[in-house]
Symmetry: C2
Subunit: 236 residues, 2 copies
Amino acid sequence: MTSNDGGAAPDAELLTATTALGDALRELIETSVTTTADAAEVAAAAELVRTATARIGGRPRPVSQLPRLDDPSVGRRVFNPVTGIANPLAPPLVVRQDGDGVVAAATLGLAYEGPPSFVHGGMSALFMDQMLGSAAGAAGLWGMTAHLELDYRGPLPLQTPLVLRARVESSEGRKAHITGTIARAAEPEKVLVEARGLFVMPRPEKQAAYFGAITDASGKPSPPRRPGDATALRLA
Amino acid sequence: MTSNDGGAAPDAELLTATTALGDALRELIETSVTTTADAAEVAAAAELVRTATARIGGRPRPVSQLPRLDDPSVGRRVFNPVTGIANPLAPPLVVRQDGDGVVAAATLGLAYEGPPSFVHGGMSALFMDQMLGSAAGAAGLWGMTAHLELDYRGPLPLQTPLVLRARVESSEGRKAHITGTIARAAEPEKVLVEARGLFVMPRPEKQAAYFGAITDASGKPSPPRRPGDATALRLA
């Protein structure tokens, strides 16, 4: 096992393998919550997963160190839990600029279930927070969530194409007011979830306190130049 | 591969294997976002994961069919994406009754990261939505999220013990007002995230429309007797 400490330059082979692992895990997660296999087969699957963990474990990066594949300056955050192609928790949402805002499509499986056959209400909140942050990034703004508010007009069905949107309504100084919606792709005008957020850029002294210890993969100090890096528009 | 269609009775062997798979996947997810292994090792891990998927895939339950291990009537939802012991997306939160509300402890890894070294703001919203729903369940109430509102007073550090709380403030008819907080366990009085929610029980005709097609694992009609089943207190 060798380590690639090349910093921000994307290693194509590592990116391919890491993306493949993210995709494979996403499929296994959905399979694990829907399987009708018997206990012995499920136990055998668990053993294979433990073998995979042993294969790549043993020397994790510390929490203060960015992953080798990331370059926050261009919005590449491969392990973001909503948009990151290599984070198995993420559907992932592929966020694209659209007019004066951003848009993403998603079809969610049973791993995201709340009430039977519907998306968990908290998942809608998670996705909206990310979309609002991505809208800020797409507008050249940046900030961290200070206030988030959601109205649920109707439940979101699982296994059904959804469309998520967000746009910056206004901004002044360190603050940005951002709104977002979720609807079924088949009926995009009927909004099922509505979100409003206030995103605030931390003052310089707060930025230093929050991110002063962050380094890149080589150990070089690398505090985010923009706190909104974490929610920046994904390069799709 | 055989199927266990025993309905609500928990199959101990299946529960053990399913829980083990959830635990193993949770560990692999965290390892996959922190690994410093080289591309060949990461690719080998992906291949093992695909082998595991092939082992238990092929005959998934439909979205309208509850899993064999679940019994919503006693709050057992093993695949809930926040509290479900067998859902790899869930930390999982173990929610316990405490005084007139509920409490849960969590220490979150890098899979839940938003800004470098901190919990994603949307994850706080996801967890709070679940805690508010669990507080409703613990108080004998039930409902689906109608409104959720969060104030972020400070970022939540990763790899740090957190404490999450929620309690029903008031309820009338089909509506319940519920509040919640997240703080570091070491400084529980300093609230970092504050949530307020309105949960509403759908009218009977809505309940029928939402859940009329739901069956148990044997195919027997099994609409949730309480919509709040999905966010009920976990038996810990």
